[in-house]
Amino acid sequence: MTEESDSPMTDTDSTTTGPLVPEDITADSPFTLPGFFAALAEGRLVAARCTECDTHLLPPRPACYGCGSRAVTLSEQPRTGEVISYTSVNRPPSAFDHLAPITVAVVELDSSARLTGRVDASLEDVTIGDRVELQVRDPETVDIDPDFGLSYEEEWPIHVFELI
């Protein structure tokens, strides 16, 4: 995997698959959170994909919870998908107070990968099956209490879905 770390966004037959070796686990690799968020800041959402059972793992990790295999590879994800479930956080953690109520959803991307995120819409405007697109925002513009973030999270972008 080491050679792929400069261009880890491909998911082709030539991409080496795991098991990862210790040298693969660096802050440049999307197999770690710093690498995952660095790619996201550049607009690329990267999952791991299990080459044994095709489960998508978001964020990427070294082993597949679906089948136990470590034969995982990086796979750039589509930014569009649909709402699987949704709700509104009426009393969020204090760092998010001023954003309340927060609409959140579980979204299944067109690749089948799933992730939770805020939806930039009011609860009444969202329903199961709605098409959404992932957007990436600078943490400062989201205006979350800076004390919420851990030191290593400060540069990590915040993701949000928009209805399309």
Binding site: S85, T87, P92, V106
Partner: protein, 388 residues
């Protein structure tokens, strides 16, 4: 392998109390050891379930609770799996007794949740969710369970009213439980008219923030036989546990697979089937959980878990005659996070020894406990208890 017996149980008052965690523990311990020798003469190890140090700025509860019980230089460990911590303490105690590592072990749990108000509890509980994508999206415990509930209502015939009926049933059960935080009935219209917390979940769909502690003694055959003042012990016949994904997004939202694995493992360990279970305490942190767990425990056909509120003769084909959450459940008995799994054991002990008073289920001789931590079955511990 030795048999593990539950020989004594105790709990503190449940609710918003003026007592800190260690004193709540003292209350539970005092009840459990009423009529017994000193703890130091009975147990030689301790496990304590405690969710978060944020409530009282205190970790090392293993050492602290051992001191308060008069135990010295024995293994005494805090265990943590969010709200499954209590059952995890029980599981470890049972494992040690079965393996012959200890003759008797104290399993306890404690949480002083009201110390930082609702905001403190929300922030402390928030740590149980996946950090990178889910916490940073502002989710809370009610919101994660609302994501399960919304999908459950979408995929089944169940309605918000069906979920509310689960809360009404559990409040009704709690009326007959002197240990309960809310020993009072609630009618369906009150539950339906209550404010939204995280739609479709409303106030009465959510278990309360609760201070409380519980303590139980797990012992081998010899110790159980020695303590003849309590001849009516119950046997811990089966144990199972399983971890599922941490992130809610990566789960099956309408089937709590980890809970199914944990319950099935406990059934197999005990040599029983779902149909043998007379009473069950399952983790109704939110009403939808009781429906999901009725299905995961194989009491109910898929999608019909909401019939937990019906009398057995009125349930669909495929349902067992189990009575669920006779204590009032987390919703009405109360949910002091680290103690909840042991409060479930307290109820099973009372049901299986005929001490459950007006809520006694006739001929109850086999019980299932399901305690969960994180979102739903992020971590599940299940126990099967049987009357001697």
């Amino acid at each position: 392998m030795s048999t593990a017996h539950l020989i004594a149980v105790g709990s503190s008052p449940l609710g918003k109390t003026d007592l800190p965690g260690r004193d709540l523990f003292s209350k539970a311990l005092a009840e459990a050891f009423e009529g017994l020798p000193d703890p130091a003469d009975v147990v030689d190890g301790l496990y304590v379930g405690a969710q978060s140090e944020r409530y009282e700025n205190q970790i090392m509860q293993g050492t602290l609770m051992a001191e308060w019980a008069g135990l010295r230089n024995v293994p005494a460990e805090r265990v943590e799996a969010c709200a499954a911590a209590g059952a995890l303490a029980l599981k470890n105690a049972v494992r040690d007794v079965r393996a012959g590592v200890h003759d008797a072990v104290l399993a306890c749990g404690v949480e002083k949740m009201t110390a930082g108000g609702t905001e403190g509890a929300t922030n402390a509980l928030g740590a149980a969710f996946e950090r990178a994508l889910e916490q940073r999206s502002g989710i809370t415990a009610p919101a994660t369970y609302a994501l399960l509930a919304r999908r459950y209502l979408h995929e089944t015939d169940a309605t918000e009213r069906d979920l509310a009926k689960i809360a009404v049933k559990n409040h009704q059960n709690a009326v007959a439980n002197p240990r309960a935080m809310f020993q009072q009935a609630v009618d369906i219209e009150t539950a339906m008219d209550a404010p939204d917390v995280a739609p479709p979940l409303k106030l009465y769909d959510c278990a309360p923030v609760t201070d409380g502690a519980a303590a139980v003694v797990v012992a081998n055959d010899e110790v159980a036989a020695d303590l003849q003042s309590r001849p009516d012990t119950v046997r811990v016949a089966g144990v199972g546990s399983a971890a599922n994904n941490l992130a809610v997004a990566e789960r099956d939202l309408t089937f709590v697979e980890g809970a199914n694995v944990a319950a099935s493992t406990a059934y197999e360990d005990a040599g029983v089937d779902a149909a043998d279970i007379d009473v069950a305490e399952v983790h109704d942190a939110f009403t939808v959980c009781e429906a999901l767990l009725a299905e995961a425990a194989e009491f109910a056909p898929k999608g019909r878990g909401i019939e937990t509120v019906e009398d057995p003769e009125d349930r669909s084909a495929g349902w067992t005659d189990v009575q669920i959450n006779t204590s009032g459940g987390l919703k009405a008995r109360g949910h002091p996070i680290g103690a909840t799994g042991l409060l479930q054991a307290v109820e099973a002990y009372e049901q299986l020894t005929g001490r459950a008073g007006e809520r006694q289920v006739a001929d109850a001789d086999t019980a299932l406990l399901i305690n969960e931590g994180g979102v739903a079955d992020a971590h599940t511990v299940a126990h099967v208890l049987t009357a001697q």
